[in-house]
Symmetry: C2
Subunit: 383 residues, 2 copies
């Protein structure tokens, strides 16, 4: 039969969704009772009304349920005392190593300086090399899933000539300057911060006919002159190609990870390989590859139609020596939700899986960050 110690051991694998350490090590697990297979656990949150509390509760419940012989699990939350919190802060600060790797600072090319990260914990670029495989969809779906789990999320649309993010996420209007002089990004319904060149243009159907140097400086501005505030994740939607705009993102932003998007066309594989090889040359850490538009289920007869050929994401990932993050089927609802600016309503298990992967990665990287303290400790509750 399950006992207290077994529950504690199971909870040891549950990470605080922001701090990225075991909740047992963080001294957050308080009372465990086990009565004939009925388990109750009390977890002390670092702040009351922590937006990530629900994610933590779910993770803890799932961990205990996996033990077997468990009839029911109940996870309650309480809040740390001021004293306990101060102790934890000191402990975390002393273990956080200042950033000193050359990857995150210094000159990276002639005349190009890598920008800092300020209050942003993880910066993830979504790339594909090829257009039309669904970078903007993957970016906005990832942002939505992260937001659903309570994280502070921003999306930077680095595609200046084909900006899709504002439309897909349903934000419109002009951003204005905030009290600090920075541009305040717009917020989606669920609270994702968005910045895109299309929000600045008077007419979104007018092109920006800019050569490279202007493109580069505008991308840097969209990152640096914007008051992103404290974010757990900034997702950067890259334009197709391997020329100015992607190059500037790779050189200027302190990227923590890159998600590669492909489609089942061999043609796409070839061009996606180019983008992957670019990311490797730029020493950007690649989290893995996701295949979009893998297949379509006919809504009429449920037949599987391989519109763009047999799914081959797994094989492609293997040949590029990348983790395969999963395939996402073609779904007419994606185009509809995108066109209606309601992509936040979309969810899929593949996207949820990528978010799990991002969380694990972020946890591993947290020790390298200078600011190791949870964002929830410093910001107002999310809207």
């Amino acid at each position: 039969m399950v006992d207290k110690n077994m529950v504690l051991e199971a909870l040891r694998n549950v990470l605080d969704p922001e701090i990225g350490r075991s909740i047992v090590d963080l001294n957050m697990v308080r009372d465990i009772t086990v009565d004939d297979g009925n388990v109750t656990v009390k977890i002390a949150l670092t702040v009351a009304h922590c937006p990530l509390a629900k994610t933590l509760q779910t993770d803890a419940e799932n961990a205990v349920r996996k033990l077997g012989d468990v009839r029911s699990v109940k996870v309650d939350t309480t809040t740390m005392t001021r004293k306990e919190l101060e102790d934890l802060k000191l402990k975390l600060q002393s273990s956080a190593t200042p950033v000193s790797s050359p990857k995150n600072g210094g000159k990276v090319g002639p005349g190009i300086e890598r920008l800092g990260r300020r209050g942003i914990r993880s910066i993830i670029a979504i790339i594909s090399g090829k257009g039309g495989v669904g970078k903007s969809f993957v970016t906005s779906a990832l942002a939505s899933e992260l937001r659903r789990r309570g994280y502070e999320v921003g999306v930077l649309d680095a595609d200046l000539t084909g900006p899709s993010i504002a439309k897909v996420l349903g934000v419109a209007g002009k951003p204005h300057k905030g009290p600090n002089g920075g541009i305040v990004p717009l917020r989606t319904q669920s609270g994702i911060k968005v910045m895109s060149i299309n929000l600045v243009l008077d007419d979104p159907s007018m092109p920006v006919i800019w050569r490279g140097p202007i493109v580069n400086s505008v991308i840097r501005q969209l990152y640096w002159d914007v008051d992103w505030g404290e974010l757990h994740y900034l997702l950067v939607d890259l334009p197709p190609g391997t020329s100015d705009a992607p190059l500037t993102v790779f050189q200027s932003l302190p990227l923590d990870g890159v998600v590669v998007v492909s489609s089942p066309q061999e043609l796409a594989s070839m061009i996606v390989s180019k983008a992957v090889n670019m990311a490797k040359k730029m020493d950007a850490p690649i989290l893995g590859l996701v295949e979009n538009m893998s297949y379509l289920k006919c809504p009429g007869c449920s037949e599987t139609i391989n519109i763009f050929g047999e799914p081959k994401g797994e094989k492609l990932a293997l040949s590029l020596e990348l983790p395969f993050l999963g395939g996402i089927p073609l779904d007419p609802s994606v185009a509809r939700l995108s066109d209606q600016g309601r992509i936040e309503e979309y969810s899929s298990s593949t996207i949820a899986g990528i978010v799990d992967e991002l969380r694990t990665r972020a946890a591993k990287q947290l020790e390298q960050l200078t600011q190791g303290l949870p964002i929830a400790w410093s910001i107002e509750p999310a809207r």
Copy 2:
């Protein structure tokens, strides 16, 4: 009942597929016989084994058949005498006006010179602004259809960072320098001349990580340093976006027309509008808009699936004040043929219609060309 004069009048509407004038005016129609609704016509070709003879025969047959009361049509060909040909040459040369419009020469921007057209009659760019809507597919399908009709066709892949043309058209190998010092483009199975950066790279999966100025100079080289020879049509496949590469094509090449490709997604419409507005700003003549991936017919139950939303190309063309060139359904065979380098085997009525439109346009423009003489008069028979 149909008579000789009616047949002659019907043939007046048939244009020589290269010279772009009525075959009656060109004195190419010789013997017409009408016997109880059975029509025979003899057409004198300007050169024996003219690669365009078949197109001409089909056009003449169709024109006569339209008269009604026609039981059968037989179109034979013969060849002009040397004397007749010399007379025709003189007549054409005297009516050809030298090019003097500023659009086709001179400075077009700081440090940018528009290049000449040498032996190329019509240069058509295929644009979309958005990636993944099928520019390369439309480009290569148009080239294949033009080639089927006997034209000399070249395809310049101006997408340096995501080059698809060589793969789709099934050419591989390295181009070498010809006797004139120009690079000799590779030829497809049917004889289309192809030039793409991927033919120059040692490994097609390696990216070209080039900033704008290099991109620009390479595109100019792919056009100017290549020995295209005499061509009826050079199709230029543009990369997505409205930055360096498209800008260079618009500024450097003497474009005769632009074909715009869209998809049914509203998102695509918005970005395609940007590209159209760019082309308008650059004074490029837009031939019209074609919608790709309009819908899919399920191979299982024949249900029409609007994967990317309701087709809206016609409405989009109207709002952009462009002719609508038609819609092309999604077809799994396109991805298969593209991946196998066999797109030359694909044909569709929409593509054929666009080719008709190109031919009419080319005929109208021919009088502005300095070189008004048919290419067939000067080149070796196509392979």
